[in-house]
Symmetry: C2
DNA sequence: ACCTGAACACCGTTCAAGT
DNA sequence: ACCTGAACACCGTTCAAGT
């Protein structure tokens, strides 16, 4: 009677990702991931050498979900596509961002991206050095925007930003420009932080285009 | 005989920050911070209601160190100054970035910044909505850049980036553009990731200036 | 008021043992 | 080969007790 193994690397990673999505990265412990799979914590050590390795796999799992645009796509659309896909994946799995910081070894998924973006920039006419720097600028913007977006103290519903802004007791004498800005935005009928993504992307791509 | 208290909120925060600087945020436990001050873990609970509160204080400690430019400074210099100061502080205390994600309630230090940056943008001639979006773009870039910078797998020494790039076994057929880019940069005599900060800042500020 | 010690419910990880 | 249970050195936090 052969017993099929109940576990596999893939199943463990999927269980850990699901747990992180539902309850946050803090609840991803060897014991909890084991419980998720109906197994003791120690069983996981047959498939992973330690928790560090589980987190590495989790990080690669996130990046492998980012879509890469076709080589034939016009450069600006291609960069917009990739930036939006990256944002979508990281917003869906906010714990992914925190892992960039701690797990710096680039996996194959990341290298594939790097290659694709550089290709579009070079074919658009960028010098090698500027291509690298433009890429770094775009990536920094995407990561930073998601960092702000996922840590906003409100749900991303229509107008919730303004409700929140209004709820802040803004001392006008202490923060005059901030208070003025909030008032002006409210008068103009609101403000959605998320819209800033396309605007910011446009700001950066315009400058890159101007330097080609 | 009156006994002076050995502890204070400030001393605890300073000890925690020092520990984080030296050994990373992961080693900041109530027990370790206590030991740093020659005291049992439980003593800290007389000054802080829990660890969450300690982390909130730690986050504010970081932001309060960012320098705010003078109101009279020309807008572009002012925004460059603030961005550079933010980067410098976050590179010195890399654990600060990770705290943005988890601790979203804006403290006074952050509100002061927000106010200063909006002031410069508005006086430069930005509409309220564009001022907010330009600010979000700049901040996203700074945060994201530091995120990449502090998680680079090498020390930020002259030329270390290229040594690292060379050490990667880059399959040319799999990553042709990436391989080409690395080769071109090497031929041009190297590349420093850090330089990308001024370039990226310039890319964004150029676009903002063009839209005034 | 300020600090401690024991205790509880958690961690990651080791090791020897079971099937 | 695959999974478990006990054990060790850690966590944050509560509570009663000491000064």
């Amino acid at each position: 009677m052969e017993e099929k193994p109940r576990l596999s690397r893939e199943k463990i990673i999927a269980a850990a990702a699901g747990l992180a999505d539902r309850s946050g990265l803090a609840r991803v412990s060897m014991r909890n991931v084991g419980a998720e799979l109906g197994v003791e914590a120690m069983s996981l050590y047959h498939y992973l050498s330690n928790k560090e390795e589980l987190l590495d796999e989790l990080s690669d799992f996130v990046f492998s979900q980012i879509e890469i645009p076709d080589e034939s796509t016009q450069w600006r659309s291609a960069l917009e596509f990739r930036a939006s896909s990256t944002r979508r994946v990281l917003v869906a799995h906010p714990w992914g961002l925190g892992m960039i910081e701690s797990r710096p070894i680039p996996g194959p998924a990341l290298l594939k991206h790097h290659n694709s973006v550089l290709g579009h920039l070079v074919r658009a006419g960028c010098e090698p050095l500027f291509a690298s720097q433009a890429f770094a600028t775009l990536d920094a913007f995407v990561y930073g925007f998601v960092l702000s977006e996922t840590s906003m103290p409100f749900e991303m519903k229509e107008g919730a930003e303004m409700d929140y802004a209004a709820s802040l007791t803004l001392d006008e004498s202490e923060y005059p420009f901030l208070a003025e800005n909030v008032a002006a935005l409210r008068e103009a009928g609101g403000f959605a932080f998320s819209d800033g993504f396309q605007v910011g992307l446009g700001i950066i791509l315009d400058s890159i285009e101007a330097r080609l």
